[in-house]
Amino acid sequence: MDISTNIAGINLTNPTMLASGIMGVSRASLNNVIKNGAGACVIKSISLEERAGHAAPNIITFAGGMMNAIGYSNPGVDQAKKEFSDLKDLSAPIIASIIGQDEKEFAMMAEKFLPGEFAAVELALSCPHTPGYGTLAGQNTPRNTEKITRAVKENTKLPIFVKISPDSQPIGEVAKAAEAGGADAITATNTMGPGMIIDIQTGQPILDFKIGGISGPALHPIAVRCIYDIYKSVTIPIIGCGGVTYGKDALAMLMAGASAVQIGTGIYYRGLEVFKKVTQEIKDFMQDKKYKSLKDFIALTHKLEK
């Protein structure tokens, strides 16, 4: 049985990846995630300057998943270069994640931070809770998506993944713009919303930033639909992201057209071993169905329409 996959020339021994934003603060943590079965990892996003992020509470959970407003805390590009060194010694590909306030800053980030020892770079154009970045800065429009992707493309030879927002509509147009700008893959999706959770004892929103991006089970069906739409719009590979907790969630994304999946909130529900568990559940399913390779059912939902 072959559960390896390939995205833009990068080989993954299994289709589970660590999503950007959690656990990816340090090299040691990435190594720990890989030991727990991740086929690849995306680091927590890096900006030019150090950012403390929003005040706490930053992360809470609710019946349908998780809500966060971290605010892109990161040590800045100079410290991050030291943190994310000797990556070749790790046993899975590491993907950089960069942010910027406009295409010039993205280009500068690419120039200062890449290639390093990264296998690819992911551009987060879709954070819903950080002023100046992502959807709050309009980076999710087709025009800005293309502009930013192109600016990075001109400054790196690394494959580019563009991470897009589930709130961009029509999402296929945003994916097309990324492809036109030179993207090598689409990560679909980022957290949705923003949402708000209010403590009824005090009437106060719990997150200090008041609003936050929603991930986990509530996001899953929306992310599947986004992958399904994007698959019809572009020819580059898609990495599914949004509420993958069990093997069945990953399988649904693969059938909608994804070539790999990213996991974040799933760690909360099933521990760091979620990567191993999801991989095993994919294998069990393939054995039952007598599938030999992921290719046997990637985009199955689309093939059935023909």
Binding site: V25, N32, A56, I59, A63, I70, S73, Q201, T202, G271
Partner: protein, 275 residues
């Protein structure tokens, strides 16, 4: 352990049930909340529109939770203006805890400064198991010694040290610790305080072949093992989940233990040796 869908990590807003002034900088805030917490675990306290901070649990008895908190910054300054009956949010308990075994006869607890708080919780529990307890409690001055009366009442062997000699023996908590370690055999040693002090104790225990448990505090955001902010070099272990309490020999293998930690942004900062 897997979490079921529908589990919720949100602060529960509760009135402050009581407040007790412990020493010049520390007050214990009590809440009527049974959490089934263990010594060494922590809760995260929320003051709306200000911040959220982790605090180790100083006691839980008969449905009343106690947090011994020092006034050290903006968050605790605000907390110290709050009166009995005012509401704040709590979530937890989180993290690993100090453990004892049924066959333990004698243990040594070493608390530096505010590190005394979780260890006094441990002393209370160990006393119920009929374990003999030596407790080294050190601070700079007599005004800063925490829980002196409370520990006296537990009828344990209390060794007080102050840097200026204003109470107990003159010196640091490491002096009384070394005396205890040289004189007695312990089933386990427990240490909580400034990290450089913790490291020295762990090294000494390692040399003597005595098991030792240490509490490692790191900046954290979620408290439930997902943000990745509190992971140690080189294991990547999360100090909110696999920690804060870890075995001393494990701690000594962590290259950042006693040397550095990461700030809120993730930037590396050297551990302060002057405590």
């Amino acid at each position: 352990m897997e979490h079921a869908f529908g589990t919720i990590e949100q602060p529960e807003v509760l009135p402050i049930a009581d407040i007790k002034q412990e020493n010049e900088r520390v007050r214990t805030f009590y809440f009527d909340k049974a959490m089934k917490s263990q010594p060494g675990q922590f809760v995260i306290v929320w003051i709306p529109r200000l911040d959220e901070k982790p605090f180790s649990i100083a006691s839980e008895e008969n449905g009343r939770l106690g947090l011994a908190i020092a006034k050290v910054g903006a968050f605790t300054e605000k907390l110290f203006t709050m009166k009995k009956g005012e509401q704040i949010g709590l979530r937890g308990p989180y993290g690993s805890w100090f453990t004892t075994e049924n066959d333990y006869k004698k243990i040594l607890l070493i608390g530096g400064g505010y590190g005394v708080a979780p260890l006094s919780f441990l002393a209370q529990q160990a006393k119920k198991q009929d374990i003999t307890i030596d407790f080294c409690n050190g601070a700079r001055t007599s005004d800063q010694i925490l829980f002196k009366d409370k520990l006296h009442k537990l009828n344990i062997n209390l060794h007080i040290t102050t840097n200026d000699g204003s109470d107990g023996q003159t010196g640091t908590v490491l002096d009384s610790t070394n005396e205890c370690l040289n004189k007695n055999k312990y089933d386990c040693v427990y240490v909580c305080g400034p990290e450089v002090m913790e490291k020295k104790v762990a090294e000494q225990c390692d040399k003597l072949g005595v098991p030792c448990q240490v509490s490692i505090e790191r900046y954290m955001k979620c408290g439930f093992g997902i943000c990745g902010q509190c992971c140690l070099d080189d294991s990547g272990a999360r100090m909110c989940k696999e920690g804060p309490v870890v075995w001393g020999d494990y701690a000594l293998k962590q290259k950042e233990f006693g040397h550095y930690h990461r700030t809120k942004s993730g930037k590396i900062e050297k551990t302060n040796v002057q405590h």
